[in-house]
């Protein structure tokens, strides 16, 4: 048993409207030092065995859309 943590973000070149709105809101709240804010998804799950490739496959097939998103995986026993 291992824990997989996956972070899915929009590709850098793709506009992140959500992130921009939140960044603006933080500025309005006085947190003017914040920049480059981007929002993504986080998925945490228990998987059988420590099989990085299998998790990558799940990401490509279901969790992320490779056309617009990148993903990062952390696996831990």
């Amino acid at each position: 048993m291992a824990t997989a943590r996956v972070i899915i973000t929009l590709k850098k070149t793709i506009m992140d409207a959500q992130g921009q709105t939140v960044e603006k809101a933080l500025h309005n709240l006085g947190y003017t030092g914040v920049s480059n804010l981007r929002i993504g998804k986080y998925v945490e799950m228990t998987v059988e065995g420590r099989d990085q490739e299998r998790v990558e496959e799940m990401c490509r097939k279901l969790l992320a859309n490779p056309i617009i998103e990148d993903f990062r995986i952390e696996l831990e026993e």
Partner: protein, 739 residues
């Protein structure tokens, strides 16, 4: 640093060698790379319609209702005194096949901009959708993503999605069809044009910043290193409905000031298209500075800024001296708004990058692509299908089982799973909700209302594009009269394969001819439309699929009608006649696995008589319900009336149909038929109206009980509890989608 133009470049941009020569002739020299890119998009089928224009000219522009717009982004009809309903349909097929959620979302965004760009407030969206069969995981993935994308965008904008269509067929497996129709209302005297006029007037870009989205083919112009780095150019556009919502409000507010001369939304080829078309339409020139355009990324090249398809942007021309008032409104809504140039009197579109002229062409030349008359050739399958003889087809024994089977097929099942996900009530105008024949919308402040529906039938059009398209128009209009709306205007979205293949072009040609002839017959103008060619996957083209959106007018919106049976004891009447029409039907495909035959024969004159009868009866308040017979035939239509009304019915098939096979009597798709239920006292009055219009009318039975029972020649042929049918019908799509 000027790049030399090589044949490779124009070819990869989709221009032929002859076209390149024409460009050189048109401007009297070799184009710059930026100019080449501009010509390539303006002369593409997507923007310039060089292959379809000659045929589209056949479509009538006028009908019995006033259609006040000429040559705008959308057209419309005057639905109430001084009030125009603008509408248009567009496809977003390819983007949705690649990225269903964003593809569909930006499809909604694009068509909505076409509406408010003319000063109209968007009031409704419809979404005709087509995918492969739902037992395929890919089809489910696309369907789910598309519906989510439409919901995401439309719901956020606060524009109700009030209708649409759903079809699943292997023909769309590799190329789904995502068509979106939008409607808006505007006072007729306030319609805004896209014509740039007034030398010296400022040109303003508003809305989202410009990024490298959707540049696609033009990337051939990139310097080598960039071209390698594909990552830098996302071809998928991302929708930002919140910005679009602000854009709608800001544009409408800016128009109120009276300071706006012209407005144009950015769709394909963004700034190129808008600047060129605005200049050409207004007979003016334009001088714009690209460095003023708000950009999302550093280091964008001129042609990248010009070609970008970043969403949620508009181009405006304001009156000189009033720009600050206009800019202020956009800032209030938190949007970019920048003057990027002004109108000139020389007819030239001059584009600068930091002052340096990177393109200078006569706008008219760009906006006048060549015209092609492509060869058309009847496809080989056509004759064979026409010759099909149904006499060898076995007649099923258990017709109740056939009915159950049809009702649980995704093509006939309840589309509730889809429209529940759409806000279809926001704006509080939706008088008849989705699920019936057509949606009815009130027009606040007016007695009149409108009905709207979208229809298509790829199978009919494949088997006979001329007749098939006419059947689609007839059905759409029939849907409207059922709710009490008089058909008034049409928009089309013509989804076809590669027009350079003569058999595909034949399909297109016959379809447009059929549409033109039927529109003339019904006195309906085609007020707007869209052509989508090249809908082909590796395993062939889609069915030729013209999808039609039709808008009708209710003189008094309170006098509308819905499709479900209402009261036990009401009589059930059938307007029209059933014939031996099995070719191309849902029954033939679903039960016998055949896509062949001639589509049902259409008698336009009979169709008109049936529609006039129904409309008059509904307007007179005589009908408790009205529902047309279409896919699945009379049996499915009866079941739908029962399921919507949560009541049973007992009917007897007309006696005079002895030469018609039983399966055709139940499931055949003869057009020009409408099921009406009415209080027994009203039946005579309806008969009188039918008599006056010369429409056949039969008494079939009565509403009541918990079961649907159909008798033929004294024998029960269908008998099933309505609750059971309803369960099958409602759960079919959720079961496939949610597992």
């Amino acid at each position: 640093m000027r790049m030399a133009i090589e044949p490779r470049m124009w070819r990869e941009l989709g221009l032929s060698d002859e076209e390149y020569q024409r460009i050189v002739e048109a401007i009297g020299r070799d184009p710059t790379p930026t100019e080449l890119a501009m010509f390539s998009v303006e002369w593409s089928e997507h923007c310039g319609y060089p292959r379809s224009r000659p045929l589209l000219a056949l479509l009538p522009k006028e009908g019995k209702y006033t259609s006040p717009v000429e040559g705008g982004d959308a057209g419309g009809i005057e639905a109430a005194p001084g009030l125009t309903v603008l509408f248009k349909m567009e496809s977003h097929n390819h983007p949705s096949q690649v990225e269903p959620f964003q593809g569909a979302a930006t499809g909604v965004g694009g068509i909505i901009r076409d509406i408010f760009t003319m000063g109209a407030r968007p009031i409704a969206v419809l979404d005709p959708l087509r995918f492969g069969e739902l037992d395929q995981p890919m089809a489910r993935y696309l369907f789910n993503g598309v519906v989510k994308g439409i919901a995401f965008y439309g719901n956020c904008l606060g524009i109700p999605t009030v209708g649409g269509e759903l079809q699943f067929d292997d023909a769309y497996r590799g190329n789904c069809l995502v068509n979106v129709m939008a409607l808006g209302v505007v006072r007729t005297d306030k319609i805004v044009s896209g014509r740039g006029t007034g030398v010296g007037n400022p040109v303003i870009i508003v809305g989202n910043s410009t990024g490298r989205d959707g540049i696609g083919g033009a990337s051939i112009l990139a310097s080598h290193e960039l071209a390698e780095d594909d990552e830098k150019r996302p071809t998928v556009q991302i929708g930002d409905p919140f910005t679009e919502k602000c854009l709608i409000e800001a544009c409408l507010e800016a128009l109120e000031t009276g300071a706006i001369v012209a407005m144009k939304d950015m769709g394909a080829a963004g700034i190129t298209c808008t600047t060129c078309e605005m200049s050409a339409a207004g007979g003016c020139g334009m001088d714009v500075e690209l460095q003023k355009v708000p950009r999302r990324e550093p280091g964008m090249e001129p042609w990248e800024i010009l070609m970008s398809e970043s969403q949620e942007r508009m181009l405006l021309v304001a009156q000189k001296g009033k720009e600050d008032e206009v800019l202020g409104i956009f800032r209030k809504w938190g949007l970019n708004a920048v003057v990027i140039g002004q109108l000139t009197g020389d007819g030239l579109l001059r584009v600068r990058d930091n002052g340096e002229v990177v393109a200078e062409v006569e706008a008219k030349k760009l906006a006048e692509p060549p015209v092609y008359h492509l060869p058309a050739e009847e496809p080989a399958y056509y004759r064979a299908c026409q010759a099909w003889d149904p006499s060898g087809l076995p007649t099923p024994k258990d017709m109740t089982a056939v009915l159950r089977d049809l009702l649980s097929s995704p093509n006939l099942a309840s589309p509730e799973w889809v429209y529940r996900q759409y806000d279809h009530m926001v704006q509080t105008n939706t008088v008849v909700l989705p699920g019936g024949d057509a949606a009815v919308l009130r027009l606040k402040g007016y007695r009149q209302g409108i009905g709207v529906t979208a229809d298509g039938n790829g199978r009919y059009c494949y088997l006979d594009p001329y007749l098939g398209t006419q059947l689609v128009l007839a059905e759409a209009c029939r849907n409207l009269v059922c709710v009490g709306a008089d058909p008034a205007g049409v928009t089309d979205c013509l989804n076809f394969g590669n027009p350079e293949k003569p058999d595909r072009f034949w399909q297109f040609k016959r379809s447009v001819e059929g549409l033109a002839d039927a529109c003339r017959f019904f006195e309906l103008p085609v007020v707007s439309g869209n052509v989508s060619f090249y809908n082909e996957a590796a395993d062939g083209a889609i069915y030729p699929t013209p999808v039609l959106g039709v808008v009708g007018v209710l003189e008094d919106v309170r006098r509308h009608c819905t499709a479900g049976f209402k009261r036990s004891g009401d009589v059930i009447l059938l307007l029209g006649k059933t014939r031996d029409d099995l070719g191309g039907t849902e029954y033939l495909k679903h039960v016998h696995g055949l896509v062949t035959g001639r589509p049902p024969a259409l008698d336009l004159d009979l169709e008109r008589r049936v529609q006039r009868t129904c409309l008059e009866a509904v307007r007179a308040g005589l009908c408790a319900s009205a529902h047309d017979c279409s896919s699945g035939g009379l049996a499915v239509a009866l079941a739908e009336c029962c399921m919507w009304g949560d009541t049973g019915a007992r009917v007897t098939l007309p006696a005079g149909e002895t030469e018609v096979r039983l399966d055709a009597r139940l499931f055949g798709e003869s057009p020009s038929r409408i099921l009406i239920s009415a209080a027994p006292d009203n039946a005579e009055k309806i008969r009188e109206i039918a008599g006056r219009h010369g429409a056949p009318l039969e008494l079939l039975g009565a509403v009541g009980g918990d079961s649907l029972t159909v008798l033929a020649d004294g024998e029960p042929v269908i008998a099933a509890p309505v609750a059971e049918l309803k369960k099958l019908w409602r759960s079919a799509i959720p079961r496939l989608m949610e597992g």
